[in-house]
């Protein structure tokens, strides 16, 4: 990848509170995820095309942009919903394999879970690189690094036991279902 001339130092700006909203189609079980900036998460039922979507849960979270404090470049992350650390639930999952390899090097892997129009996507490499740079630059432990990778490294999002870092069901020992 071609490096910029600026050795960027990224800081969070434009922090916005909101909710990560999950909806399910009760016909085909298709799931859509989006971010709502409303004070209360929308719990509408609605039809869209062949789908009948119901509210399936929400969680408080934040959105942010990153600004380089040197060159003032701003990068937005509107499609990023959250980060997830691998739960090591499947030995054959690529995210699990990568996490275990990296841990031995004091590199901690987080999957970037992103959605466009409700459907899961991978962030472009440049965005992942910027997130990696930002979170690593905040560390103080010598030799420690953060690596942000695509969510598609998960073998199967449907059965993945990893959980996005967000504020839901945290006061219970039983995960919210």
């Amino acid at each position: 990848m071609v490096r910029d001339k600026c050795r960027h130092l990224w800081n969070k700006i434009n922090l916005r509170d909101g909710f990560i909203v999950t909806e399910n189609c009760y016909h085909c079980n298709r799931t859509r995820v989006y971010f709502s900036y409303e004070d209360v998460p929308p719990k509408d039922e609605y039809k869209e095309g062949e789908h009948y979507f119901n509210y399936a849960g929400s969680a408080q979270s934040i959105k942010f942009d990153l600004e380089c404090e040197k060159c003032k470049t701003v990068v937005t992350f509107e499609e990023l919903m959250g980060l997830m650390q691998c739960a090591n639930c499947d030995e054959s999952c690529h995210l699990n394999v990568l996490s275990k390899i990296c841990e031995g090097q004091n590199i901690w892997v987080y999957a970037a879970l992103a959605y466009r129009d409700g459907d899961e996507i991978d962030l472009p490499v440049k965005s992942l690189d910027i997130l990696t740079s930002h979170f690593t630059s905040r560390l103080r432990t010598p030799g420690k690094r953060i690596l942000v990778v695509p969510g598609s490294l998960r073998k199967s999002p449907a059965i993945c036991r990893g959980e996005m870092l967000r504020d839901v069901g945290m006061l219970s020992l039983t995960p919210e279902t």
């Binding site: 969070k12 922090l15 509170d17 408080q60 979270s61 934040i62 942010f64 980060l83 997830m84 650390q85 841990e103 901690w108 987080y110 979170f135 905040r138 560390l139 103080r140 432990t141 420690k144 953060i146 959980e163 870092l165 967000r166 504020d167 069901g169 945290m170 006061l171 020992l173 995960p175």
Partner: protein, 112 residues
């Protein structure tokens, strides 16, 4: 002051191995999004949360220790994740305010 020294000063119950990492400041919140946005490397985090994701959030921002307050029971999977990433978990029967006061009395200052 190190995490180990902090344990002694506040009489905290350690749930896993206590690190020698230097503590710089404290962060009080029960929301992961707050911590990911606002906690600084070296902060000790005071929270009532016990889900294993508190460890993932702490590790992301280089928080070396988490103090779980009000005697909340920390599940074993949270302790296991903390062991794996090297974050020290403490528990105390004190509430958040009491812990914050004790941290201040122990010399932990607010971030500038």
């Amino acid at each position: 002051m190190t995490v180990k020294e902090l344990q002694s000063k506040l009489d905290l119950n350690a749930l896993n191995e206590v690190s020698d990492t230097e503590v710089e400041g404290a962060f009080v919140s029960d929301m992961l999004s707050d911590v990911m946005a606002g906690a600084k490397a070296g902060n000790v985090w005071v929270t009532v949360q016990t889900h294993k994701n508190i460890v993932a959030a702490a590790n992301l921002v280089d928080v070396p220790a988490i103090i779980v307050v009000r005697g909340k029971k920390v599940p074993e999977d949270t302790v296991q994740v903390a062991d794996r990433v090297g974050v020290t978990l403490f528990s105390t029967d004190l509430d958040t305010f009491q812990v914050a006061v004790k941290l201040h009395e122990a010399g932990i200052k607010p971030d500038a």
